[in-house]
């Protein structure tokens, strides 16, 4: 059963300011994660399986999963920086 999707205040307000196609792509990505959050094609684990990261274009989406409550929280949406070399 897919997880129930909820948005943090930051992610909800960030999403409202995005253009319609990007907004749709973010919704699709989040829905895909909610359907199968362990699928690495949709998101990668950051800390355990419950804290995950997904990417849509230049935006990074942080996802927090409460498996016991069957809820997925979109914790943060942010434009991500460039990759840089580790020294």
């Amino acid at each position: 059963m897919p997880l129930e999707i909820r948005y943090s205040k930051q992610s909800a307000s960030y999403l409202k300011n995005l253009d319609a196609p990007t907004k749709r792509r973010v919704h699709e990505k989040v829905a895909n994660v909610a359907a199968d959050y362990l699928d690495p094609k949709n998101s990668y684990p950051l800390e355990g399986s419950e804290k995950r990261s997904a990417r849509v274009g230049k935006y990074r989406i942080l996802l927090l999963i409460f498996k016991d409550k069957n809820v997925l929280i979109v914790a943060e949406i942010a434009s991500r920086g460039q990759i840089y070399r580790e020294t």
């Binding site: 943090s8 992610s11 919704h27 699928d39 094609k41 950051l46 929280i73 979109v74 914790a75 070399r85």
Partner: protein, 166 residues
């Protein structure tokens, strides 16, 4: 850092897949720079994309196994991850420069090469995504965001998707 999935980094399979991809993409870059025949470049596009997709498949399998507790690899240290990130950045830079060469020589307008060209761009973005994911896992600047979201959820302040999607 609790990232079991990174145990794949630095293994023989990782090195074989990554350096295989680096090798074939460097040959593609050389073929474009030498203005080789279109068929040769098309073949290198195909080989490069196939090699990269095989690499991604291996990573996804490793991530899935690690999350299901089936990983056979031992723990990995920070230095190995940093080396892995730098290798991924090297690969990304080669793929990105191939993309720029193709645009400069107008190879992106040739139908014989278009599919390979599009696939290469997608794969380059995926390599970048992997490097960013590993960097995020080493530099967890995301902890505050998760803590805030958790507090909002516990206080019933999160917004349902139906309200955001309108």
């Amino acid at each position: 850092m609790a990232l079991a999935a990174t145990t794949f980094i630095g293994t023989d399979t990782w090195n074989a897949e990554l350096y295989g991809s680096l090798s074939v993409s460097s040959r593609l870059k050389a073929a474009i720079a030498n203005q080789s025949a279109q068929f040769k470049i098309a073949a290198f596009f195909w080989k490069t994309n196939r090699s990269l997709e095989s690499f991604f498949d291996k990573i996804e399998t490793a991530v899935r196994n690690a999350e299901n507790g089936k990983s056979k690899n031992g723990p990995v240290n920070r230095a190995n991850i940093e080396k892995g990130i730098n290798d991924l950045i090297n690969l990304y830079e080669i793929l990105d420069s191939i993309h720029q060469h193709c645009v400069r020589y107008r190879l992106n307008n040739i139908s014989r090469l278009a599919a390979g060209f599009g696939g290469l761009r997608r794969n380059a973005d995926k390599v970048e995504e992997l490097a960013i994911w590993l960097q995020d896992s080493l530099n967890p600047d995301f902890k505050d965001a998760f803590a805030t979201a958790q507090a909002e959820f516990e206080n019933g302040e999160t917004v349902p998707a139906s309200e955001v999607c309108r």
